[in-house]
């Protein structure tokens, strides 16, 4: 046995070394599966798009490929389950009442308290895993949570019994109204014999819900082996308050020291009884066989009514054959004829039947058949355990290789197929001319430049219209007229004092000065400054014109390029854009410069109008430049009498009226001049922004730097069609890349 133990330990160690590779392969095929999902979406987008679908896109059968990938992943999962086992796992299978529990007792040294093996009705409610351990002797129970109980236990019953969706909580289950008989179920009459007992079992579970409800904790619960039976056995028949704690147990692992202590890494599995009427029993059984065990012992006890190989036995063996997968089934399974307490004739009859029906008369395809009394630990050790372990020590490496080879074979075949299909699709897409990212950027930059040229030209055309001779800036003229009138009225109504008040003040001051000229001079200086102040209020309107100009440009550039913050002046948006163009990863100095040029625009009174206005105001100086001072002095010299004061008022108010009139004439020219200035600025901007030497290159930079703002979200139109095809290409590239990471490719590369 020590030799067997060493060999088995070596096999298990070899397996573990394979695990990382298997995991990588699974990850690679999971990526392939995901990329196939992406491919489905990308293909659908191209097909559903408004443009004609390139030929050859229908040649890939994605659902079939998806199924095949699932097969590869299942094979890999089986390999992973196999190579990740820490122990050699032997499953004990067979129909109820054939001595499975008895065999397990003999192999493990456990008793009825841990592995119930009573006579009559089935007693094993929870299938256990039993591991050899020198040190530990206990059971580790993993409990269901309420949700796992509903999903894993109740949903199976509901599905089988064609009941509506299962309860989501244990409380819902407790109050659920189930049919009283199978006749009330929605199943067809042929299924009733199976459905009836299943419904009874479900109702029993519901009736006893209080006995296990409190244990649905999802926790791990350690139990002394002496106390284990209450957790794993059905309650005895006739129990008025049946204890169904076993329903709360999701998994039971028993640790104890096996009598065959030479084998260290051994785990025995109590497989669910074949033919037991629990929901999903067969599927559960098959899954366990596939993923949890290296070998299966089918226990068959040839009692008086059981001395032949029945259909149920054949069905059970069929499941095991399916579970063997790529492994030779003869290596995977042995039939134990449990002779304990059976007449030798029955044993013989069964062996004959097995030889005839199962082994088809012997030969290479024969299943290993062992005859032993399952209740006799010595016989079990000698006749069962030692030969089986000996067989496995020799067969496991072979079995492992076959499982791996099978997965690799599947993987390789599918990889080849998928690569061929992906290449074919790539070939089909090659005929579709779509710009690459750089070309797309260039195209966008060109398109942006053309679009902006159009909108800026529209803006310039609008300004040109305003600069035309026949354009009437009514608002400006109204404002000028109103300004003119305000100055005129101020003068006519006696400046600050009213006519009479002014005359009185003038007379008094002239009498104080004993001269008229001094007062008139001071007064004229005051008047001139007041007129200048009043005229300068046209600034407001000129600034409005400048802001309108900027707003027009902002509109021409569009909200994505020059967004305007709520309430902020339009110049801010242009300033911000200029800064961003300057500070872009690749700066656009010419575009920024053209913006700074228009931002430097000044239309204000001081720079635009004041120089000409000073010539008007010159007429209000006591000694006007370029004029005979004597003439003005003569005008300002009046008799120091009330009539003289009146005369002076008339003359000064006439001078102011003339100044207001002349100022109005100058200001009235302003809309035309301002319009010409604005047009000139706009034309200069358009030239610099669109047609300067660096414009084309800087538009490319701008398109790159402002890509997210300019083209947010999904593309549209031809760009969208391009994006769809580009996406499909990208997904195909990813699929090919994912296929390249599979083990087969890696192997090829290392060769």
């Amino acid at each position: 046995m020590n030799d067997i133990n060493d060999r088995i330990s070596a096999v298990l160690a070899d397996r573990r070394r394979l695990l990382p590779g298997v995991d990588r392969e699974i990850a690679a095929w999971e990526r392939v599966r995901d990329r196939l999902g992406d491919l489905g979406g990308a293909l659908a987008a191209v097909r559903d798009g408004p443009d004609s679908t390139p030929a050859g896109l229908d040649e890939i059968d994605l659902p079939a490929s998806g199924r095949r990938v699932a097969e590869v992943l299942a094979a890999l999962a089986a390999v992973r389950a196999r190579v990740s086992r820490q122990t050699l796992n032997i499953g004990v299978s067979g129909r109820a009442r054939n001595g499975k529990s008895t065999l397990l007792q003999s192999m493990t040294g456990l008793t009825d308290e841990q592995i119930p093996a009573g006579a009559g009705l089935p007693v094993t409610a929870v299938r256990s895993r039993i591991s050899h351990s020198f040190a530990q002797r206990e059971a580790v129970l993993t409990m269901h949570s309420e949700s796992s109980f509903c999903e894993e236990v109740l949903s199976g019953y509901h599905e089988e019994l064609k009941l509506p969706s299962p309860p989501r909580t244990i409380q819902e289950f407790a109050v659920q109204r189930y049919p009283a008989t199978s006749a009330e179920l929605g199943v067809d009459p042929d299924s009733r014999p199976k459905a009836g007992p299943m419904l009874v079992r479900l109702r029993e579970m519901q009736e006893s819900v209080e006995s296990f409800r409190g244990w649905l904790t999802g926790d791990t619960h350690r139990v002394e082996l002496e106390d284990l039976r209450g957790w794993v056995a059905y309650p005895p028949p006739g129990d008025s308050r049946p204890d169904r704690r076993y329903l709360a147990v999701r998994d039971a692992r028993i640790l104890c020291r096996f009598p065959v202590d030479e084998v260290n890494d051994l785990e025995l599995r109590d497989m669910p009884g074949l033919g037991e009427l629990t929901a999903g029993a067969e599927q559960h059984h098959l899954s366990g066989l596939k993923n949890d065990v290296d070998f299966v012992l089918i226990v068959k006890r040839p009692s008086e009514t059981n001395a032949a190989w029945f259909a149920e036995d054949a069905a059970g063996l069929g499941l095991i054959i399916r579970a063997a997968g790529a492994v030779t089934v003869q290596d995977f399974v042995a039939i134990l004829v449990n002779e304990g307490g059976c007449p030798p004739g029955n044993v013989e009859a069964l062996l004959t039947d097995i030889s005839k029906r199962v082994n088809e008369g012997g030969g290479g395809s024969a299943y290993r058949t062992i005859v032993a009394d399952a209740a006799d630990p010595g016989a079990v050790r000698e006749k069962v355990l030692v030969p089986v372990l000996g067989h496995l020590a020799e067969a496991l490496p072979r079995m492992d290789r076959m499982a791996v080879d099978h997965a690799v074979e599947l993987s390789s075949a599918l990889r080849g197929q998928l690569l061929a299909e992906a290449k074919a699709l790539q070939g089909a897409l090659r005929s579709v001319m779509t710009p690459n990212a750089v070309e797309q950027l260039l195209q966008r930059a060109k398109q942006l430049r053309a679009e902006l040229a159009v909108s800026i030209q529209a803006w310039v055309a609008q300004l040109r219209g305003r600069a035309a001779e026949n354009y009437e800036d009514d608002e400006f003229f109204r404002r000028v007229e109103s300004l003119q009138n305000s100055v005129r009225e101020w003068a006519v109504e006696g400046f600050h004092d009213g006519v009479d008040g002014w005359r009185t003040r003038a007379l008094n001051q002239m009498l104080v000065d004993d001269a008229s000229l001094a007062f008139a001079t001071r007064e004229l200086n005051d008047i001139r400054n007041e007129v200048a102040r009043r005229l300068s209020t046209i600034d407001e309107l000129l600034n409005e014109r400048r802001d309108e100009f900027w707003a027009g440009l902002v509109a021409a550039l569009g909200p994505r390029l020059a967004p305007v913050a709520e309430g902020a002046p339009p110049g801010d948006a242009l300033r911000d854009l200029a800064v961003r163009l300057q500070e872009a990863p690749e700066p656009c100095p010419e575009l920024a410069g053209s913006l700074e040029f228009v931002l430097d625009l000044r239309l204000d009174y001081r720079t635009r109008v004041l120089p000409r206005m000073r010539t008007v105001l010159n007429g209000l100086r006591p000694e006007p430049d370029g004029q005979d001072p004597v003439q003005m002095a003569a005008l300002l010299t009046v008799p120091r009498t009330p009539d003289g004061a009146g005369e002076l008022f008339t003359r000064l108010s006439h001078l102011v009226r003339q100044a207001a009139h002349e100022a109005g004439g100058i200001l009235a020219e302003e809309p035309a001049i301002a319009a010409q200035v604005l047009l000139a600025y706009a034309e200069q901007f358009e030239d610099a922004f669109i047609r300067s030497a660096g414009s084309e290159a800087e538009f490319r930079r701008m398109a790159e730097a402002f890509r997210d703002e300019l083209w947010p979200g999904r593309p549209e139109g031809p760009a969208l069609a391009t994006a769809r095809v580009q996406h499909l290409r990208s997904v195909l590239r990813d699929l090919v890349a994912a296929l390249d990471t599979t083990a087969v490719r890696q192997e090829r590369n290392t060769r």
Binding site: N470, E472, Q631, A634, T650, R651, H661
Partner: protein, 381 residues
């Protein structure tokens, strides 16, 4: 009826034609000062001139001068000025200046106006015989129109259509064969130019702008005249006139005309200088030019008489037999017919000799006016 030297005036009424005439008189008087020749209006003209001078004096007293709003011409006016010998009021050279509404050229207008129907034949004859077409222009209307609605009102306010129609008619007749050797002068005379010039007591700097505007706005008129008088020369004079010299445009208003679809124009002037002094400028140009026409015509007649003796130009001779209009006036006043008529009435030789001397003085005065250099503002275009 004795013949006269004729000029036609066309322009909007109340543009200041009487003021212009007053100014012409005043400045011609200044030029003739010290000579034995005087310029004298006939009685009707004298009344108008007196009224105009009275009005100006009143304005000077009031300290503010408001020109009346311009309105369409409704009637014709004829002004007569005579260059007269100081010692003998029977020795004179009369100049007749006719102002009439341009609209009368339209037969439909003439039909609707009994006055037009009555006076048209005389107007037509006057235009035919006018050696000068005088177009007074209100310079303020041209210069103060700054907004588009104001600028749109200018053609109506300055009666471009009527002026052009009269100019066409005048140029056509001047181009006719029988008038082709007579002078033809078109005078574009912006008036009330005080604000725009700096050479007459003001500080204006807009002389060039005014000239440019006149060229621009009257370009069509000049083209019409050139087109209609293709077979002869028409002398075009640009003569911007200060009709007062002591007023300066203070402010202009452009009230909406409730009837017409354009703005009206009202100018307000202030007096400049203390006290303001009337200082007419460039107005004498009109009389000087008329005198130049007379002298030029006389030269032509004398040359033609020599040709006549040489038996040439039979056709011309035939026409001259029936001399009338300008030619008749020339021969009547400068050729001695007037003198002979008077001689027949004269009683003695001493009177005859004195009369002949005064006639020569008058002729010299005309010559002097014709040859005195024009004001520097005046240009021949």
């Amino acid at each position: 009826m004795n013949p006269s030297f004729k000029a036609a005036v066309v322009g909007p009424s109340r543009v200041g034609k009487t003021t212009l005439l007053t100014a012409i008189l005043a400045e011609t008087e200044r030029l003739l000062a010290g000579s034995p020749v005087a310029i004298t209006p006939d009685e009707k003209t004298a009344n108008r001139v007196r009224a105009n001078r009275r009005q100006l004096r009143g304005a000077l007293e009031a300290g503010e001068f408001n020109a009346a709003a311009l309105k369409g011409t409704q009637e014709k006016s004829e002004y007569t000025l005579m260059l007269q010998s100081a010692g003998d009021d029977t020795i004179d050279i009369p100049f007749s200046i006719l102002d009439f509404p341009g609209g009368w050229l339209d037969p439909a207008v003439r039909e609707s106006s009994s006055r037009a129907a009555t006076d048209w034949a005389r107007c037509e004859a006057h235009i035919r015989e006018s050696v000068m077409l005088l177009v007074p222009i209100d310079s303020a209307v041209l210069m103060e129109a700054v907004t588009p609605p104001q600028r749109r009102a200018v053609p109506d306010l300055l009666a471009f259509e009527d002026v052009e129609a009269v100019a066409r008619k005048w140029a056509m007749t001047r181009n006719m064969e029988e008038y082709r050797d007579e002078p033809a002068v078109l005078v574009l005379a912006p008036i009330k130019c005080e604000k725009y010039f700096g050479d007459n007591g003001g500080h204006g700097r807009d002389a060039d702008r005014l000239k440019q505007k006149v060229r621009e706005k009257y370009g069509t008129l000049l083209e019409i005249v050139a087109a209609e008088a293709q077979d002869r020369d028409v002398r075009v004079l640009y003569a911007p006139i200060d009709t007062y010299g002591c007023v300066e445009l203070m402010e202009a208003h452009w009230p909406a005309n409730p009837v017409l679809d354009h703005l009206d124009f009202e100018a307000h002037y202030r007096f400049r200088g203390n006290p303001p002094r009337i200082a007419v400028k460039a107005a004498a140009t009109i009389m000087q030019e008329l005198c130049r026409c007379v002298m030029s015509g006389w030269d032509t007649v004398q040359k033609q008489e020599i040709d006549e003796y040489q038996g040439a130009y039979q056709q011309l001779l035939a026409r001259k037999v029936e001399a009338k209009g300008f030619r008749r006036a020339l021969t009547f006043y400068l050729g001695g017919e007037a003198r002979r008529n008077r001689l027949a009435r004269a009683a003695n030789q001493a009177q005859i000799a004195a009369g002949e001397r005064r006639r020569l003085q008058l002729q010299e005065a005309v010559e002097k006016l014709a040859t005195t250099p024009y004001d520097r503002r005046v240009e021949e275009w």
